[in-house]
Amino acid sequence: MLTRDDIPRLAGKVRLRFDRHSGQHLLLYPERGMQLDASAAEILQLCDGSRTVGAVVSELAQRHRHECGEVERDVLAFLQQLQDRCLIELGART
């Protein structure tokens, strides 16, 4: 299970891209794509291999003046889904 101390980043096969046709961000990977809402895109923009999940949560909570606990639940659930599907990897970017 993913924890707040893990350092998430997009898997090598995955690209995060703004889609000018829909005005939303997309995750692109072999033979598939995933449309992201604004908050999912914001989370993934912070998952650049330089921050722990905890640091991503603090940053988001501060930006939006939300409670850390609530944000952490949402972020962990979302990232766990992506990890199960091999769309993110853990560990600092080398």
Partner: protein, 363 residues
């Protein structure tokens, strides 16, 4: 209003060093030797991006046989498109990997035919297995994302455990275990390739267990053959709905097997803009939406999920492209599928016909 396309399949050439007996390319390859030049492909990529395409997969034939593959990848990358190539790695793929990486390639799919040289040769018609494995290893050594693709059939389904081990050994990012789709050359060779139900079930169990074990480490897909599904596959996610395929000669198609369907003329990118082809051409509107659907599709609650299956398969098997895909248990021609399954249960032996530029003998 027409939906936007998301994916472009760019078949760069029908030339290929391999002669796989299940190739999805058309049977009349000898009539289809002309290829689009680089400038035309660059225009097509630009038009595709403007229409909404986000991904492009370069395939063939063997895309490495195009000397300008690096320039094509670079052009797609510059447009922000996600780029993939489907390749055998032959000839000399390893020598070009650094340039492809430089050009911005996002993903490489390498297919293997079997787990050892002899079985691979039987399917591909030549000795390519060792070179493919070396190529796949080189993809990973450069840090490029690797999909290992295996087309499954009667002669390799029992090796599924070994394919999974091979993918782990290669550190592949994805493993696609996809049963043969019985179209093109695979339909010619169906009697020799179609597995039994028992074989399929065993393989599926192994794949399902491995998927759970590898969760979070490797993406594993197991695609059942529609011949045993009783429901048709959602071919191309619907006709003219998500995908544009462009054949080497420039003909734009809504599906791999659509070359020879009645009504498929006038969709060549040499003569028309991709926008016109996508939105207005008779070809892309032929089976778009639901108006064309016969019963039982017309009132079926699954029609928005499977789109009535594959038009090309319906045409190839029943002679009527507007009929429900015969793989559907409710289709009027489903008996054709049941008969093919029954022959597979009896392990009817048949000789393999290799893909070639000559028309195959009558099946």
């Amino acid at each position: 209003m027409t939906e936007r396309p998301y994916s472009l399949i760019a078949e760069l050439t029908y030339r290929c060093p391999l002669r796989c007996v299940y190739c999805s390319n058309p049977l009349d390859l000898h009539r289809r030797r002309s290829e689009l030049d680089l400038a035309t492909w660059q225009r097509v990529l630009t038009e595709a991006e403007a229409l909404g395409v986000m991904q492009v997969s370069f395939s063939g034939g063997e895309p490495l046989l195009r000397d300008d593959l690096e320039q094509l990848i670079a052009a797609a990358h510059a447009l922000g498109l996600y780029t993939n190539i489907a390749t055998s790695g032959i000839p000399n793929g390893s020598d070009r990997l650094a340039a492809l990486q430089q050009a911005g390639i996002d993903s490489i799919q390498v297919s293997v035919q079997d787990i050892a040289a002899a079985g691979s040769k039987r399917i591909a018609g030549g000795d390519f297995h060792a070179d493919k494995l070396a190529f796949a290893a080189n993809v990973k050594s450069l840090g490029l994302p690797l999909t290992l693709n295996v087309v499954l059939h009667r002669h390799n389904l029992d090796h599924i455990e070994s394919f999974i081990q091979l993918a782990e050994h290669l550190d592949a990012d994805r493993l696609e275990l996809a049963n043969t789709q019985y179209q093109g050359w695979a339909l010619v060779n169906r009697a020799a390739l179609l597995p039994s139900r028992e074989q399929l079930q065993q393989a599926r169990e192994v794949a399902t267990a491995a998927r759970a074990r590898l969760k979070g480490r490797m993406e594993l897909l197991f695609v059942m053959p529609d011949y045993y599904s009783d429901r048709p596959k959602p071919c191309m996610a619907g006709w003219g709905r998500r995908f544009i395929l462009i054949a080497p000669d420039g003909q734009a198609l809504p599906c791999h097997g659509a070359h020879n369907l009645p009504g498929m003329s006038n969709s060549n990118v040499r003569e028309h803009s991709l926008q016109w082809i996508w939105q207005d051409s008779p070809a892309f509107n032929l089976f778009r939406g639901e108006a064309w659907m016969p019963q039982p599709c017309r009132t079926c609650e699954l029609r928005s999920l499977d789109f009535g299956g594959c038009r090309c398969q319906a045409h190839a098997l029943s002679g009527n492209a507007a009929e429900t895909d015969p793989t559907c248990a409710l289709a009027p021609s489903h008996q054709l599928i049941l008969a093919a399954r029954e022959r597979a249960e009896n392990a009817e032996s048949a000789t393999l016909q290799y893909r070639s530029m000559a028309t195959p003998a009558v099946r």
